[in-house]
């Protein structure tokens, strides 16, 4: 939308939160807990990580005090909005046996919208792109995830431009940031220098415009628009990582038998962290549970991971018993076969798999190494 840009001050941001809450949204945004930025319910701007920044590197995350009072002065947090819209555990149905009868008396889909609708505050551009990917994966195929659909349909998105990219960020390489370009109702760019603490606001949808009309804003002066552009340019120049996407699909396919997989497998702990923090990873398994009496049965959907051995178990054994084949599966899906499957990259460059890998394995370094690894002769060794 090409509506006029507005400016919001701190009171205005509180007004935005109040307006969303008054409209019935459960506002979820970033906050500090246990030494990291995590998602939590947000009632006031005091819940936000005021004055906190972060240092991120492979297997390394530390909060640090900033010299200013920025509310969004940090990079990608411990999780994207994935756990909000696509929770780690979800009831599909619960049923009860009475005599010879069996009735399903709780349908998870009916409850999926109950906690919300959500207003996601502070969504980064990489994570917006990840949401768009989940929309394709979970809503755009034959079998729609009705629970995700229920949460997603009602969700209001307030995006934030990244003005302090982290040491593991590479959205600029993936074309997914740092400035939100689509998929938001409102987008903020935090401005701290040359004047009061304020936010440039861009409107993305009529719904966003309607909400913003209830909040005190002023018209954006040209120098604020410029300041936001400058902040974006600074971010692009300060990405911690890069990934060369040129022909990346072919690089991965050509390296199916690369000796590099043994190198990475010697480091990989098969712990699954990379997949569980990835905003686009969507693999789950379905579990059936029954209580002791066998009278109450439940079917649940839970996050799973291609790094677990059981994930590839079929009759007779696991298809990927070795860690090397699990890592190969993961990175090849992210950067190559995802393109064939969904017409887009499966990686948005958020850097979480690098930061939160306890073994410091780096997708950008692995992709670069494969590019330079001599490819073995055709055919299996």
């Amino acid at each position: 939308m090409d509506a006029e840009m507005r400016v919001l001050d701190l009171l205005g941001l509180q007004g935005l939160i109040d307006t969303l809450r008054a409209r019935g949204y459960a506002v979820v945004g970033p906050t500090v807990r246990d030494g990291a930025i995590v998602h939590a319910p947000i009632a006031t701007i005091d819940d936000l990580p005021r004055g906190w920044g972060d240092d991120q590197d492979a297997a390394h995350y530390r909060l640090r005090r900033r010299a200013d009072d920025a509310l969004f002065g940090f990079a990608a947090g411990a999780q994207s909005p994935k756990p909000v819209l696509f929770p780690a555990e979800e009831l599909i149905w619960r049923g009860r046996r009475t005599g010879e009868e069996f009735t399903v008396n709780e349908d998870g889909a009916e409850r999926a919208g109950d906690e919300g609708p959500y207003a996601l505050l502070g969504v980064r551009s990489c994570d917006l792109h990840a949401l768009a990917i989940h929309d394709v994966v979970l809503l755009g195929r034959d079998h729609v995830d009705v629970r995700y659909a229920a949460r997603r349909a009602g969700a209001f998105v307030v995006a934030v431009t990244c003005t302090a990219p982290g040491g593991t960020c590479f959205c600029a390489s993936m074309g997914t940031g740092p400035r939100p370009d689509a998929g938001y109702d409102l987008a903020l760019t935090e401005l701290l220098d040359d004047g009061p603490h304020r936010f440039l606001v861009e409107v993305g949808t009529p719904r966003g415009e309607e909400v913003l009309a209830e909040v005190p804003t002023t018209s954006a002066p040209a120098h604020d628009v410029r300041a936001a552009d400058d902040a974006v340019a600074w971010s692009v120049a300060h990405m911690g990582r890069t990934l060369d996407t040129d022909g990346i699909k072919e690089v991965l396919y050509a390296n199916a038998e690369s000796p590099r997989w043994d190198d990475v497998a010697s480091l990989c702990l098969a712990c699954t962290n990379c997949t569980l923090v990835c905003p686009t990873c969507f693999c789950t398994s379905v579990e059936d549970v029954a209580d002791l009496t066998g009278d109450v049965a439940e079917r649940r959907r839970v996050w799973d991971s291609c790094f677990s051995e059981d994930f590839s178990y079929i009759h007779g054994g696991a298809i990927r018993p070795e860690i090397r084949s699990r890592y190969r599966q993961w990175i090849t899906h992210k950067l190559a076969s995802w393109q064939d499957q969904f017409g887009m990259s499966g990686c948005v460059g958020c850097g979480r798999c690098i930061t939160w890998c306890p073994a410091a394995i780096d997708i950008t370094a692995e992709a670069a190494a494969l590019r330079w690894t001599p490819q073995p002769a055709a055919g299996r060794s």
Binding site: G35, A270, C271, E287, G294, E309, A359
Partner: protein, 269 residues
Amino acid sequence: MTIQTQALPKLAVWKFASCDGCQLTLLNCEDELMALAGEVQIAYFPEATRAVVEGPYDVSLVEGSVTTPEEIERIGQVREMSRNVVTIGACATSGGIQALRNFGDIAEFRSVVYAHPEYLSTLARSTPISAHVDVDFELRGCPINKHQLLEVLAAYIQRRKPRIPTYSVCVECKRRGAVCVAVANGTPCLGPVTQAGCGALCPAFARGCYGCFGPQDSPNTAAMSDRLISLGMADDEVMRIYRTFNAASEPFRRESERHEPARDEEALT
């Protein structure tokens, strides 16, 4: 229902070398005990009742490791009397903390600790139940997790496969939204090589995982040790972190031996 007219499956609970904590987990199932009593006949469980119903038993829960010649004989009898043998806890499944003796000299311990060591009949090693008899299912943990125990009991009552995951503790950590203590705080954590089951209890309270549930199905312990050392652990600390409740499980035993100080000295000379 027809089920009520059939005889209830008979449950027995046996103790070997152990602290009783895993049996207590069963007694701690307060809300579920009545339901359990409706589904099984608690036929032998000295920790809970003196009443004894003769075998054979449908399910025998076995706690504890084998550390004496008498226990070798007794576990054989338990096996003969039981349709299914399910071991509960780290002792029964990997030898327990008492398997630390496996790394030492039992004759020496005996002579130092006891005034009359000749009265003592004990084995040189503490071994899991599976070293002596066939085991139908091994439930991990020190102690076992109540929900997992109920799941295993329900599975045997309903004659289905227990749904007990063998992936890492990290999965539970992330599912519950805990912040990784290794990455965000530099705290050494065994979670990546440890099997899930506790619900990531320690990481959720800002502690590193101690490995109570033993090795996960694909434990890359060598890589784990490199990370522990990079987080500041000394070699002998690495050795000790693997030598707790599951010290004698193969992957942990092998890795701990790679970090024995004596070996370092050998390597240096």
